[in-house]
Symmetry: C2
Subunit: 698 residues, 2 copies
């Protein structure tokens, strides 16, 4: 019997779930919804499958919604029908306003799965004689969406994250109430055992102890009316982010306060270990941070905003490829962010966040090789790009129009957002380039040529307006008819990270921007990601390690158990907790804090795909100042294991064709592979999957 799974219109499960998740944010008890447009699933869709049966079989249909079943145009009242042998067309139409229409069809050979098609307008009308129109030519069918809903009793709308009970580490009476410490940043539903009495249960959550105890200013709270004559175990209805919980409970008693930890069940397929325990701890806390923020979707922070932000998610995707390799989470997030036609605004209203979405699609293809998904989403890349291109000014530059948020970074230096900002032009260029590459992957020659021409045009515009010919670096913006003088890190560093510049320019950027102690300072882990990535790209691995040790190490020193939205070493004490004009406005568990996962995986273990989906890939392990490193980098169907110290490299891979590259002053030895000296002191070995390569460099 073939395996059936729940299927739906692609993106609709994601849109519905994303709306629900994002509308769970509260601020001091007040519902706090997003400010961008929320799409809805198609409320009426038709699933379709062509069938060729050797012998008749019985199928049963379960639907989320009101359901119409047609076999070769004949409607059935029953939900279990017999399909005779031969060729047939099965169509199932479902209406559901609250949840995405979805079906689960099970038979001997006929099952709902990814091979079905679906449409939101079947256009099948019946003429006066009762004949149905031939619709196949007029109906836009697309491949259905599905995931892992293989149980007919658990339809997509029943999706919930997993939970498990966790205890507080310390609980003590303080002030007018009780303070519980769960030992580290966590997320879930508070649980009271044997709760009894009548009165107000006032709960103040804190990512820091200061926050939990500050009942007037903590960001998250729950006020609950309790009236239990009998001792009752009580779980709160809403999940929250916290380490500390301060509870006022006059007239109410309880035995114990614990929590249901709520999480997405995923495996950590990637790993990293080295001789430096601080770096290992940073990697572990990064992994914990990323896992906490990888939920229904990749979100920004677990206390705030609990929303899906494209720029934040873009970094999560890249970290994810080195930790969980959860492709489904990437797809969910990208589907949600793009939503439905028409495009009326930038993603999250932020211009740069629109562009990161394009880059995310390309990276997804590159890491996973999933051409199917890319094919499905490609039309939406084109329509989103059309939106962007239509907003260029007469010089071909994208300025922030009414309602556009030009974000880039929370920078502590003055940064102009007026006129055309250089970094946005650069991202537009990267987006066109990504679209061109996807068109090529899909072998859509005509589109690929069109986008290649556009790419050149936009690159020229970028250099014409934003490149300072004298200093050979990119300036910040072009405003009121002239190029600004200011040099900001953004275009320079991001392009360096992407290896996008000719050598001379790269050298100047490295000197004037990247390694220049007087250059403008980056104070968010968000941009540390690109800054340290760029440093690795120019071979500054030791400096990157030291930055990791100081920037992330400092947060650990300050008591962090997950990494923060922002960290500025110039700040003191409670300043570290404040942001957005609020004393605890800062998120202390923010996905973009977890970038060491990416840096250590990509640049120290040194693995990245060359051809899509790790068909071919490079392994270029770097020690920096470490004595040894060891770890795994996941690939679509396996992993790459690497060990390196000063005298030995060991590599073992599960799939694809790798190239191990390393520098060595004397000729290395490898018994299982052929060593080629590709340039002076640089050696490569072709790595076949399934066998270990040991390279002696001693």
């Amino acid at each position: 019997m073939k395996k059936a799974t729940w299927i739906w219109y692609p993106g609709d499960f994601e849109i519905n779930l994303g709306n629900r998740m994002q509308n769970r944010r509260t601020e001091r008890g007040v519902f706090f919804p997003p400010f961008w447009k929320m799409d809805s699933h198609y409320v009426l869709v038709e699933f379709s499958k062509k069938i060729n049966l050797e012998k008749s079989e019985e199928i049963s249909v379960i639907a989320e919604g009101k359901c119409n079943i047609k076999l070769d145009g004949k409607m059935f009242c029953e939900k279990t029908i017999t399909v005779p042998a031969g060729n047939h067309e099965l169509k199932i139409k479902v209406y559901n306003q609250e949840n995405p229409p979805a079906i689960f069809v099970s038979g001997e050979t006929i099952v709902s799965d990814y091979t079905w098609l679906v449409t939101c307008e079947d256009k099948e009308w019946i003429d006066e004689s009762g004949k149905a129109s031939d619709t196949t030519s007029g109906t836009s069918y697309v491949e259905v969406g599905s995931w892992n809903f293989d149980d007919p009793q658990n339809p997509p709308s029943s999706f919930r994250l997993k939970t498990e009970i966790q205890s507080a580490v310390t609980v003590k009476s303080t002030g007018n109430g009780t303070l519980a410490d769960f030992g580290r940043e966590t997320f879930g539903f508070l649980v009271f055992n044997n709760l009894k009495g009548k009165g107000k249960l006032n709960i103040y959550y804190g990512e820091s102890c200061e926050e939990a105890m500050d009942t007037a200013f903590c960001e998250t709270l729950d006020f609950i009316d309790i009236d239990f004559a009998e001792a009752t175990n009580y779980t709160l209805p809403d999940s929250r982010a916290f380490r500390y919980v301060y509870i006022e409970h006059t007239g109410i008693v309880f035995n114990e306060v614990s929590m249901l930890y709520e999480y997405l069940p995923v495996d950590f397929k990637g790993s990293f270990r080295c001789n430096d325990e601080l770096v290992n701890r940073i990697w572990d806390v990064s992994a914990y941070t990323l896992h906490l923020t990888t939920r229904e979707f990749f979100i920004d922070g677990i206390k705030r905003d609990r929303w899906i932000w494209s720029g934040d998610a873009y970094q999560s995707y890249l970290m994810n490829y080195y930790l969980m390799f959860d492709s489904a989470a990437v797809r969910r997030t990208m589907l949600y962010l793009r939503g439905k036609e028409p495009v009326t605004s930038h993603i999250n209203t932020i211009m740069d966040y629109t562009f990161y979405w394009f880059l995310g699609i390309y990276d997804y293809y590159s890491y996973t090789g999933d051409l199917n998904f890319v094919m499905q989403i490609y039309p939406k890349m084109k329509s989103l790009l059309d939106f962007c291109l239509s907003r260029r000014n007469k010089n071909g530059l994208m300025e922030g129009l009414a309602g556009d948020w030009v974000f880039i970074d929370w920078a502590d230096f003055p940064m102009s957002k007026s006129g055309a900002v250089g970094f946005e032009q650069y991202l537009l260029y990267c987006s066109v380039s990504a679209t061109r590459q996807i068109a090529q992957a899909l072998e859509n020659k005509q589109d690929a040529e069109y986008f290649a021409a556009l790419e050149s045009e936009i690159q020229k515009t970028l250099y014409d307006y934003m490149f300072d010919e004298n200093r050979q670096v990119f300036v910040h913006n072009y405003d009121k008819g002239k190029q600004s003088e200011q040099i900001t890190p953004f275009t320079n560093i991001f392009g360096l990270w992407r290896k996008a510049f000719p050598e001379r320019i790269a050298e100047e950027i490295k000197k004037q921007v990247l390694m220049n102690r007087d250059a403008l300072k980056i104070t968010t882990p968000y941009w540390k990601f690109y800054e340290l990535g760029a440093m690795c790209e120019v071979g500054e691995h030791e400096r990157v390690l030291n930055e990791i040790r100081s920037y992330w190490g400092d947060m650990l020193q300050l008591g962090a158990t997950s990494f923060w939205e922002k960290y500025n070493s110039d700040e003191q004490g409670a300043e570290h907790l404040s942001m957005y004009g609020r004393p605890y406005g800062k998120s202390l568990c923010h996905s973009w804090g977890a970038s060491p996962l990416y840096l250590l995986g990509k640049y120290f273990l040194g693995v990245q795909p060359l051809e899509a989906g790790y068909k071919t890939f490079i392994i270029e392990p770097h020690l920096g100042d470490l004595e040894w490193i060891e770890g795994d980098v996941p690939t679509p169907n396996g992993k790459i294991h690497i060990f390196r110290n000063a005298v030995e490299i060991r590599v073992m891979t599960d799939e694809g064709r790798g190239t191990l590259r390393f520098t060595c002053l004397k000729k290395p030895v490898c018994r299982t592979g052929t060593i080629i000296e590709s340039s002076k002191n640089v050696y490569t070995i072709e790595i076949q999957s399934g066998k270990e390569y040991v390279v002696k460099m001693g």
Copy 2:
């Protein structure tokens, strides 16, 4: 205290209600949904109101959905807040997936009403300092939608039609069960009094007795499992269309079967009476037919399809202006039909039905003068027109592309739908013309000029390809590079009805098409509407009366208690019931059957608006062969009363400035108005509202 009302995003109540209504169709117990795309309401919207208060006041907010209240950017936890004196901005954001977000705000002076604005993307982000962005420039606010939901306890989602109990006229045992006759076509929920027993209650509905008794082929049925040990009053959950009900109830008894008649509460503001009782009965049954099909929306038929069809609705709008003048029903229907962006298909997938929508907007403006609604919908006229224009072929003609249904009529003669069909080009021309007229009404000069140029261009194309220069009439279509020979009624008659042709062409069409007994025969009331309208336009009132007497009179003769989807006098017996290859496929209560309302109101009472909203209007009463006619034609805020016989005309109006026009062989007399002889034997009198004009022609 000002009156508060529930408000929502315009169109969203209508879209949600229309989806629910249209997904109530069943065919022999099987759920039967539409085949076109169903949009969804915006699930997250923000309502906004600028306030200037002399003294502080308390307001309370009720919302359908999760709700966020902000006054000048400050969020409130409570739903009752105090607004201090001064200038403020109140913003209320609501999330609701299942029903359209809606609010009811009540205070002394601050109330939710039509003056509020709403957006589906407020784009209000907060920067790092906690400052909200200035969003006013980037957010597209529109005026809210509202209707008559003035009770805080009855939100829009609770909307239901009214019901009242009605008894069966006869109930008798027959076959294996009981047959109830409700005396005439009706609609509602069947009710059983003192139902008792255990078993199957099988209910077969019939618009005819034949249908109810034909358990194997009746179109509508309900099979219900009953298990009542005690006698119970039981009302069926779903409303149905029927006159007869045949009930099989082995093992089950009941005292009485009755029904809850379900209807839209509206007044019949228009009326018509004359000396011919057959014509009076036709008018009465037409009014009943239109009322039955005027429900949540203007639907086609009450048995089938119970859907909103733009072409059918277009005629209902026009009939409605002469009976109920229910502007809200017209707006609801037009909002639903247009739905949301993007346009991916013709309305109802039918090309002609897209065009009727444009005509409907223009007529709505013309009859109601409601510039507000027209302003709101105008952008959607433009985007729908863009969709159409983009689908023209290289000759500028609209052919049916894949998925387009070219309907026009259920004709009993062979009609080609291939190539470019002339009538579709004519409707495109009319649609551009309607859009141009709306642009003018909105004083949008630039658009009006653009559409005027387009109108000329499309008119030229129409004449170039579809007009037969020799015969001076319009041919059916242009296919495979040449004009067809066939002359069909459509463009010719529709254009005549619209008074669109120069005199010479009009004469030829009248002779060759309209009054030609050998011309192709129209067999639907749908096209009888235009055919008889055209006859009136060319002064053939007597013939029209005779057609009404024979066509609609024949249906009455055959026992009709409401008018049918189709009537062909060549058919016999049960043939009258069949359609679509099904013995009872024909709808016996179809809105387009009610056109005598329009014909008698517009062409016999003779009233139509000249300037929008009856600011000025014409009254030109015609007797045809009748001795006297008398009746009312509603206007936005009143009505026009008319009496006429051979020697006297009496007119009384409530608003606007009318022109009474009539032909008389000798000079008439009117004591209250000034008679002008506008041409030989044609007289006009200016009619002021509020006084009676009596014209003696004897």
